[in-house]
Symmetry: C2
DNA sequence: CACCCAATGTACCATGTGGTACATGCCGGC
DNA sequence: GCCGGCATGTACCACATGGTACATTGGGTG
């Protein structure tokens, strides 16, 4: 007979979690195309037997990966918001974008979109990803915007639009690699923000922090 | 030995094209998950033998599907632009969005994002989709914006941003189904447009065409 | 009619798949 | 020092896959 470990509180560095970590890294780098359990296991330095052992099945394994990716996304968001300090929304968005646009993150973002689209298609293993895929980003943004004086409704719309801009431009960037062009588009949106952010104490300060990629 | 038809100018309703059409419909409805040739063939009312016969291989088949989807996208865009008439950019964007957001198109859009993300991951059959996936939309938009008085550079950025907003909000809509909330975000962006569109002959006309989903 | 050739059907193959059964290594606690 | 149980390795299975070979149909043209 076989045994699937009780999935208890999960000691932080159990073999299971080690595998998970490596899995995310590998999937980010190579995507989760049709890869079979065996290929994956091989690339992860384990055996397909182990994946089934720790996660119950291939599906179960992918569910775990999705959850972990989701968790990382949220963590990144939290850090961004925490780092915010007293910067203006516009400046926050620029910084956020600067981080997201870093080529080092591209693989993770590709994986994110891949899982996203699979979830949209109703693939069961990716569905958990959808829960909060919008709201978990909007809520903090709304709170932040309100702190800067926007009333509830516009704040929500603004947050939603900002998220869409980020993701839309990310799709663009991943496809074209044209950082300069995408940056210009973002700047256009950010300018909008400045115009609306009536509560910003210093809306006209030279917040450009160096003409955004002017030279290179 | 076997034979793959010479892929000539393709009489418009050859069995090959019939299959292609049904394939798009079916993929839009069910996504192209792991589906095998046989499953697909079954769902399309043909045999896996035929798919290989007409398209050379599974990959070849998917390439053909991708190309066809691409073509449909462009056709839709062309029609939109043609229909434009003399409406303001803001109004155009609203109309465009109204069409895109129609639930009847959701399946196609899901398929689009699925193929998009697969292409981003470097899956060979989807790669052809990337070519022009940004530019083929931006070029007409730029031309349009210029006709409304914007100089080249802002026009490009504006077009790029607009595309990102559309796709980002579409991702949102497909995940949440919250048309009302997404509409509000779009309206926020469109308002921006009006502000910049200095060349619009009637920027203050009640272009709201009925308070956008005010009631329901 | 005879011929051709695109279109389709039937049967098959080697390979890889997800999953399972069973044996074993290896650790800490009694 | 032995024993329980997590972790892992080996071997296997039934099955589905993509692709191929070969035969057959059927409509149009000489």
């Amino acid at each position: 007979m076989w045994y699937m470990p009780a999935r208890s509180a999960a000691s932080p560095s159990s073999p299971r979690d080690l595998i998970l970590g490596r899995a995310i890294e590998h999937l980010a780098a190579h995507g989760l195309g049709d890869t079979s359990l065996r290929q994956l296991a091989g690339a992860l330095g384990t055996s397909h037997r182990m994946l089934v052992y720790h996660f119950g099945s291939k599906e179960g394994f992918l569910v775990a990966v999705v959850r972990a990716v989701e968790a990382r996304q949220r963590a990144a968001l939290a850090e961004i918001v925490a780092t915010a300090g007293s910067a203006s929304p516009a400046e926050i968005m620029r910084r956020f974008w600067d981080r997201l646009a870093d080529p080092a993150l591209w693989p993770h973002e590709r994986l994110f979109f891949e899982l996203y689209s699979q979830a949209l298609q109703g693939r069961p293993h990716a569905l958990p990803l959808l829960e909060g895929i919008i709201d978990s980003w909007i809520e903090p943004a709304v709170e932040f915007a309100r702190r800067h004086g926007l009333p509830e409704r516009p704040a929500r719309a603004q947050a939603r639009l900002g998220l869409a801009v980020m993701r839309g431009l990310l799709l663009d960037l991943l496809a074209t690699g044209d950082r300069r062009a995408v940056d210009q588009a973002l700047e256009l949106h950010v300018a909008t923000l400045v115009g609306q952010d009536t509560a910003d104490p210093a809306p006209l300060s030279p917040l450009s922090r160096g003409t955004r990629r002017s030279g290179k």
